[in-house]
């Protein structure tokens, strides 16, 4: 999937999962299905984090995620991509009307351990 990043301003990239990825993201690995957490992380989230000071991920509009998707997409930033949780707290913003998703995502980020 080609990354189509929407720049909100010079410093922020906005990623809307429903519009730019899928309304029904699900699954952990790319082998699971077309809209997995790994695919979102590798194709959209990581390129956005590398290109911009801050990234805002909008969750509203999607029909649901599943913990495997969220854990792999966001926890995977620490575990697989080697980013530090503190850096993510500075660079990443989660936007959702449902606060539980935001809490869960930060929980996955803070709990993840870098591989090796």
């Amino acid at each position: 999937m080609d990354a189509q990043l929407v720049r909100y301003n010079a410093m922020t990239i906005v990623l809307n999962i429903a519009k730019q990825f899928s309304r029904s993201p699900a699954g952990r690995y790319v082998t699971d299905g077309p809209f997995s957490g790994q695919a979102f992380r590798e194709n959209l989230l990581l390129p956005a984090l590398r290109q911009s000071e801050t990234v805002e991920v909008q969750l509203d509009g999607a029909l649901g995620f599943g913990s495997s998707f969220l854990e792999e997409a966001f926890g995977g930033l620490v575990r697989e991509a080697g980013l530090k949780a503190e850096t993510l707290h500075q660079k990443l913003r989660i936007s959702s009307k449902l606060k539980t998703y935001e809490q869960r995502i930060w929980h996955y980020v803070d709990d993840a351990k870098p591989k090796g």
Binding site: S22, R23, S24, P25, A26, G27, R28, D32, G33, P34, F35, S36, A62, L63, G64, F65, G66, S67, S68, F69, E71, G75, R79, K97, L98, Y108, D111, A112
Partner: protein
């Protein structure tokens, strides 16, 4: 020793050749007759007509579940023996959701494993025929559709099937749920369904690299019913692939089947075969979501055991199935009347 003349030698040789020829002829005849006899008695040439139970029901009292299990076992055994089977739906009066879901799965499975060996007749009951046509079961059994599907008890049911973790086919149902109960409750349900699909891919069909799942769902007022079935490795079997010390101490590893209910309960509590701390969150979240809904019910049947949570009784229970189920069946019944769209 008496010396034989050349005439006598020729006579003996001729006699032994003739005897050998006769013996060869007789054994060929015996072989031929055995072949014919086996062709006549060959199970492949027999057709077994098996009556589908009057009530096709799984999430049900023990006796009805047992009867349905016996029916599935009989068909499976005959097909494995090489016989042709005809499913007789003429006595079937009522289909229940979990029964339909299992029929969908098992018919797909049988048709794939035993091509051209399974047939059926049209059901006598109009509603039964509409439903079996609606979920493509009759078509898969070689019966062309002949009903106009119009009954509300049929049209309100959604069915989905897929191979991978792809929730796109379920979107129309989730949209309908969102319109009725609102985004928060709908997303909680979608999280559960997506995670169940992921579990099927990662655990049930891990060795085969993928396999089919079936979903049967409806929403009526604010009451939601969702059932999901797969025919892969069961929850107890996948957990016991990497046993814990407790599994050895309690004998679960050797007495497979006896403690399946407890193993499913452990999975609902977060135990996972991967042993990775970031995995195994799916079933606990499903249970949590069910507990948060008013009078929610969650039932998980897998191999020889079941786990149930009843919101009405505020009770979790485990048990053993008299007839094991192939794979896993998960049933959610949620009353989301407290929610607003």
């Amino acid at each position: 020793m008496k010396k034989l003349s050349s005439k006598q030698k020729n006579f003996c040789a001729r006699r032994s050749r003739n005897a050998m020829r006769l013996r060869a002829k007789a054994s060929a005849a015996r072989r031929r007759s055995r072949k014919v006899a086996s062709r006549v008695a060959s199970p492949r040439h027999l057709l077994e007509v098996i009556h589908v139970p009057v009530y096709v029901r799984y999430y049900a009292p023990k006796e009805q579940r047992k009867e349905f299990g016996r029916f599935l076992e009989r068909v499976e055994n005959y097909l494995v023996q090489g016989k042709n089977v005809s499913l007789d739906f003429s006595n079937t009066k009522r289909l229940f959701p979990c029964g339909v879901l299992i029929i969908m799965g098992v018919v797909d499975d049988w048709v794939q494993r035993f091509p051209n060996r399974l047939t059926a007749n049209y059901p006598a009951d109009d509603l039964v025929e509409q439903m079996l046509q609606h979920v493509d079961v009759l078509q898969k059994l070689g019966l062309p559709p002949r009903k106009n599907i119009s009954h509300d008890d049929v049209t309100r049911w959604h069915y989905f099937t897929g191979l991978n973790v792809d929730a796109t086919p379920v979107e129309p149902f989730m949209e309908q749920v969102r319109n009725v109960v609102g985004a928060e409750a709908q997303m909680g349900l979608a999280d559960c369904v997506n995670e169940a699909m992921t579990n099927v891919r990662h655990h049930a069909y891990e060795k085969s690299g993928g396999g089919r799942w079936w979903i049967f769902a409806t929403i009526s007022d604010k009451r939601i019913f969702v059932a999901m079935h797969d025919r892969g490795a069961s929850i107890p079997a996948t957990l016991l692939e990497k046993p814990e010390i407790w599994d050895y101490l309690t004998g679960r590893v050797w007495r497979q089947g006896r403690a399946d209910g407890k193993l499913i309960s452990a999975a609902a509590d977060g135990r996972t075969s991967t042993k990775l701390p970031y995995r195994g969150k799916g079933l606990p979240e499903m249970l949590q979501f069910t507990k948060e809904a008013e009078n929610g019910e969650l039932a998980i049947y897998s191999r020889s055991g079941f786990f149930r949570f009843s919101g009405r009784e505020q009770m979790e229970s485990v048990g053993r199935l008299t007839k094991p189920i192939t794979g896993t069946l998960i049933v959610w019944m949620l009353n989301l009347s407290g929610t607003t769209p």
